[in-house]
Amino acid sequence: MKNDNYIVRPLICILLVVLLGGVLLSLNMGKVNSDTALLLGGMCLTLAVVYALLRFFPLGDHYIFMITAMLGVIGVIMLLRLQTGHGQKQVIWFSVGAGLFLITSIVYRFGKFWNKLNKLYVTGGVMLFLITALFGYSSGGAKSWLRLGGFSFQPSELIKILFILTLAGVFTNEYKKPKEKDVKIKTFYNTKLGRNCAATVVCYTFLLFLLLQRDWGTAVLFFAIYIAYMAVYGEDKRFLLLNGVAAVLVSIMGISFMNHIQVRIETWLRPFQDVAGKGYQITQSLFAIGEGSFTGRGIGAGSPYYIPEVHSDFIFSAICEEMGILGGLAVLMLYFVLVYRAFKISLSTNNEFNKAVAMGIGVMIGVQTFIIIGGVIKFIPLTGITLPFISYGGSSMVVTFLSLGILQGISARRREIEDEI
């Protein structure tokens, strides 16, 4: 292949970034002790191993993992700079996620039954919601965490994937032989209207659970995914109208009755009215971004500790402060390319179900990035949700890797032959 040169270059870039990050950390923070250096080395090793596997076996798309690796590396360096413990855990989560990414891609590729498990996805999602409702505990205003052994995780992260698989199944499955007695239900389900109704019911059930958990950020994400599917497969303006009305109604109800939402809207519209109190988070974030200007203050030279939750929701402000708007834009561009890849895979595969799944995953990552970055820069009201691959958080990291693993599996199925010719 004549592109051999190109294929090594991104890896070199990533290793260079790790090296530069390490040097910067040790210069400014004195933070690179032997443990951290070992962890950074371990991360490079994980990258190299996964990359080599992707390179030398026909496992599909090369780009997805490289982009996520770059995002992960930026995240780990920022976290190490903010709080060494978080950074170290993040490296472990990254490696676990990368392993899971490979396993998922292979499992997804060789299983041919993914479009037939619709009922299982829905029941799984509802069960997870019920378990969270019963045994969950709250953190940051949303009762959406579950503790299992020593780990705590957010089941709604996993339900995202189940939701995408369900919607993809609903819109693309064919039911060939309806049984005698329930012909009517089956044939109704096969019509466009029936499918739209099924998708709507699933979506609103999940949304209800999310709103009960008071996890508005994730609810918006689910709704956006659903709207994307309706726009592509629904082909029905009545549903668009209905959903618009429902969205307006729910937001009006939220604004007028829920204190939680009122505060968010208030701080979004007038953050500087109560800088020391309600508006503290968002104003600190804005100050940090402003302080960073175009080129940033240098990694380790900023003062991101003023921002609450800087390691998870507000990590983008810290990046903007220390690497400048240019650094922030670089991160945004990485997400752009990632989402572009997802849509590209969706367009070039020839299995309808896989097409729909790939589209959903692309929409999920795109919208999630939009919601949190938009919130942090005060473009839209702030809702707590993680920035994929950069924010600190095990469940987010692992689940996003899981969804990309599915994407990778889809791309591998398509590529099997193309590469050999």
């Binding site: 530069l20 910067l24 890849r341 199925r413």
Partner: protein, 147 residues
């Protein structure tokens, strides 16, 4: 010095990230170009057009294949038209041109080659525009564009 060095290194850091994005986009761009070139079917003397719905097929297959002077069709690496259909033999059948006419012959395939629904067995059969060729789980139509 203590002020400037971290700044310069941070600039370098961001520049490397941009270099990375540039390389990735360039790679994707090259990929697109090769794919676009592949799809461009030139005026061939004859080609095979896929009759199956692409959505029913799990493996990658083109909508159409150009025919040259000698075309081996199958799963194996020796074939000019290579399709990963599990129901195909590694060298399934052969379509070749002799004196301006295309002929098809079966290459001792496990599942046989059907021409318009009939097994051609070990005969060599002349192909006419519109003939339907079934191999493995696929069906192709033989097309000879009039020049």
């Amino acid at each position: 010095m203590q002020e400037i060095l971290p700044k310069i290194l941070t600039y370098l850091f961001v520049i490397v990230v941009y270099a990375f994005i540039y390389t990735i986009i360039r790679m994707i761009f090259l990929d697109i170009r090769t794919m676009a070139r592949k799809k461009n079917i030139t005026q061939a003397e004859g080609y095979l057009k896929l009759m199956n719905l692409k959505t029913d097929i799990d493996f990658s297959v083109n909508e159409s294949y150009e025919l040259e002077k000698d075309n081996l069709i199958g799963r194996g690496p020796k074939c000019r038209i290579r399709i990963a259909d599990p129901a195909l033999s590694s060298t399934h059948c052969r379509i070749y041109k002799a004196e301006d006419t295309f002929f098809i012959e079966d290459n001792d395939s496990a599942n046989g080659t059907l021409l318009n629904g009939e097994n051609i067995a070990d005969e060599v059969v002349e192909l006419i525009d519109g003939d339907k060729i079934s191999i493995g789980s696929l069906m192709f139509m033989f097309v000879r564009p009039e020049n």
